[in-house]
């Protein structure tokens, strides 16, 4: 196979929608045939609006949701359908960061306890080795050793976040999935968190999948981006190329909607009407056709495949 660290092939995850009697009445198609690959050391951005399936993608890769079809290959090994015990061993290399990693610390544990725990579970290091490891990680996230003896509530929000990240890094994972890591942060704090992600990536040779709805952040952080709409990837390519010449009409609208500082008000020219359809009721053919300015008859009949257009991959009949 290829030398990709993570490879998804036609990944499918539906959620059943049940009525009051527990009978399944419909499927919510959160991931509907997603294929992509992530190279070692790169940062892949995953963008889209709420309900497009980007978080489901991250959680399915992590094994929080079982895939219903398709393959997840991590470091050349299929991990989507492993037995529990074997799957757990993969967690050492593949970690997931929630929106606020600080909030996942146990409030009754001192920082030192939280940081030692993953090492106890996944490694056979001696106590002295663990201590050396923990203080190295703590220094990498920019906290002094003195913080080891504090409880989470004694730290500021930003410091808790750093401890949360340190906890994930103690195992030296190869890949980290960051799920909306900066949403809800103020811009000045966001800048310091992004700087930290960058320096940790360099220090630990990490590969990131960066899930975000904030296009400015993705542009600053990611080399490649995948744009999702209703459970499908509609465009995939190098970040500068996608931002300069978006090929899919949805990507074009998404980029046109982002407020930009300086120059003319972008919303004055914003043309996209309507709202995304309910993901339990996906339109036939191309999913974007109900809002698309370029829509033709063929769009309702035939679902456009992801095809190569000028260096990017685009799922549109008219790209």
């Amino acid at each position: 196979m290829s030398d990709a660290l993570l490879e998804l092939v036609d990944l499918v995850r539906y959620f059943p929608i049940r009525n009051a009697f527990g009978r399944r009445v419909a499927w919510l198609r959160a991931l509907d045939g997603v294929s992509l690959s992530v190279m070692p050391g790169e940062t892949l951005g995953l963008v889209g609006e709420s309900g497009c399936g980007k978080s489901t993608l991250g959680k399915t890769v992590m094994g929080i949701y079982a895939p219903m079809a398709g393959e997840i290959r991590f470091a050349g090994r299929e991990i989507g359908h492993l037995p529990k015990r074997e799957r757990r061993a993969v967690a050492k290399d593949l970690q997931y960061v929630y929106q606020d990693p600080g909030a996942s610390l146990d409030p009754r544990w001192k920082v030192v306890h939280s940081l030692h725990e993953p090492l106890k579970i996944h490694t056979t290091l001696s106590r002295a080795d663990r201590e050396r490891e923990v203080s190295a990680i703590l220094a990498a996230v920019g906290l002094p050793d003195a913080h080891l003896d504090l409880y989470p509530h004694e730290l500021s929000g930003g410091q808790q976040r750093r401890v949360g990240l340190a906890r994930i890094l103690t195992l030296h994972p190869r890949m980290v999935i960051l799920d909306e890591p900066t949403s809800g942060l103020d811009v000045s704090v966001q800048a310091s968190v992004l700087k930290l992600f960058r320096s940790l990536q360099a220090a630990f040779a990490l590969t990131y999948v960066f899930i975000s709805h904030d296009l400015a952040v993705v542009r600053a952080m990611c080399a490649r981006i995948a744009v999702m709409y209703l459970g499908k990837i509609v465009e995939l390519g190098d970040t500068p190329a996608v931002f300069e010449k978006p090929r899919h009409p949805y990507t074009q609208s998404l980029l046109a909607a982002v407020p930009r500082i300086g120059g003319r008000r972008v919303t004055l020219d914003f043309a996209l009407e309507g709202e995304p359809p309910n993901p339990r009721d996906v339109p036939s053919g191309c999913r974007f056709r109900t809002r698309c300015p370029l829509v033709q008859d063929v769009c309702a009949v035939e679902e456009p495949p992801l095809r190569e257009v000028g260096g990017q991959r685009v799922a549109c009949h008219f790209a």
Binding site: S188, A191, A216, A220, F243, V258
Partner: protein
């Protein structure tokens, strides 16, 4: 620095303000001490103007918006001084009944951040909007003191009000307004609920709308639609808006003028273009520089936002400021008029385009 308060006052009078907040001080009493959440705020909104109030979380933007409306939490908040003048009257000294009759929901209306919790889930949208119109329609007489909750809604007026509701729902581009009215709030998406909120804010024909982060909960394409709609509607009707947001891009989209706050103090007040191209306050400049750009380096502001219980003396930004001197900790800088409507509160204002910092 010879900035005089007189220049400042003169500059402000020239703006024919609708709302003017002067030296407003609000404290919150907490278990750990008294937090000075607003520390001598000045703010003006002229007729027909969209003013953005920007700042990071905890800087006091929402408290300021609530202080203007007189809806601060009664137990904890204490107005320690200052004035809120609206159309020449001081709102702080008026009694609650007058405020309710004449100001809140009439002359000043409110668009909340969260369109999900602002409706009652058990009544139809029609019931909720007509309840508002019963008391706050421009056709309803203002002085209704002493009237009972059970006062009936005169049929003539109901019909006329209902017609204006439909008209306004069309103006906010809600599809099929007559059918929409019969539905329950949960049947609408977030974007549509925010359209309903905008309609409800416009219906009493206010002079001023206070919008508290109205697009923060929305997706970016929906946000663009709502911002475009809101700006078009208020400009067409000549309504002023005080728009609080933490997103500088959103402020750039919707505002005519921007006021930036930090830890309960207003730092700079400038026309939109000046604010984004040639800001004078070091905080404004650092804030703008921390917005991620395509290829520039990431620049954060070192340090953390101070606690308002033991806030730094003088200019509250001085412990994190590159230009700070002893003077900055000694006293808060007086307003310095850079140009007609550009006011900065800094001992060391910067006179250079924003690119100079990059």
């Amino acid at each position: 620095m010879t900035c005089s308060i007189r220049d400042f006052a003169a500059a402000r009078r020239a703006m024919a303000e609708l709302l003017s907040v002067r030296d407003l001080r609000v404290d919150f009493v907490t278990d750990r001490g008294v937090a000075q959440v607003l520390d001598g705020i000045n703010l003006d909104v002229a007729a027909g103007e969209v003013v953005g109030l920007v700042g990071e979380s905890g800087c006091g933007k929402t408290t300021l918006a609530r202080a203007i409306l007189g809806i601060l939490p009664a137990g904890a908040a204490r107005v320690r001084g200052g004035a809120v003048r609206f159309k020449g009257k001081d709102l702080l000294s008026q009694d609650a009944a007058t405020l309710n009759d004449e100001v809140r929901g009439r002359a000043i209306t409110f668009i909340p951040q969260d369109p999900f919790t602002s409706f009652s889930p058990v009544f139809s949208v029609q019931t909720q909007i007509m309840d508002l119109m019963k008391w706050k329609s421009p056709r309803a007489a203002a002085g209704r003191r002493g009237s009972s909750l059970f006062q009936r809604y005169p049929r003539e007026r109901y019909r006329a009000d209902h017609a204006s509701v439909l008209e306004t729902l069309r103006a906010v581009q809600l599809p099929e307004p007559a059918r929409a009215l019969r539905r329950l709030p949960h049947e609408f998406s977030g974007g549509q609920r925010q359209r309903l909120m905008i309609a409800m804010a416009l219906l009493p024909r206010p002079d001023l709308i206070i919008a508290d982060e109205p697009t923060t909960a929305l997706d970016v394409t929906i946000q663009a639609q709502i911002l475009r709609l809101l700006r078009a509607l208020v400009k067409e009707r000549g309504v002023s808006v005080l728009f609080t947001t933490h997103d500088l891009g959103t402020a750039h989209e919707i505002c005519d003028r921007v006021v930036v706050m930090y830890a309960g103090q207003e730092m700079e007040d400038a026309p939109r273009d000046v604010f984004f191209e040639r800001p004078a306050h070091p905080y404004t400049r650092r804030l703008l520089a921390s917005v991620p750009s395509a290829d520039g380096p990431l620049r954060d502001i070192p340090g953390e936002v101070p606690s308002l219980i033991a806030a730094p003396s003088g200019c509250r930004f001085h412990p994190r400021c590159d230009y700070a001197t002893a003077e900055c900790g000694a006293g808060r800088p007086a307003p310095w008029v850079v140009a007609d409507t550009h006011v900065v509160r800094c001992h060391h204002p910067v006179d250079a385009p924003i690119e100079a910092d990059a």
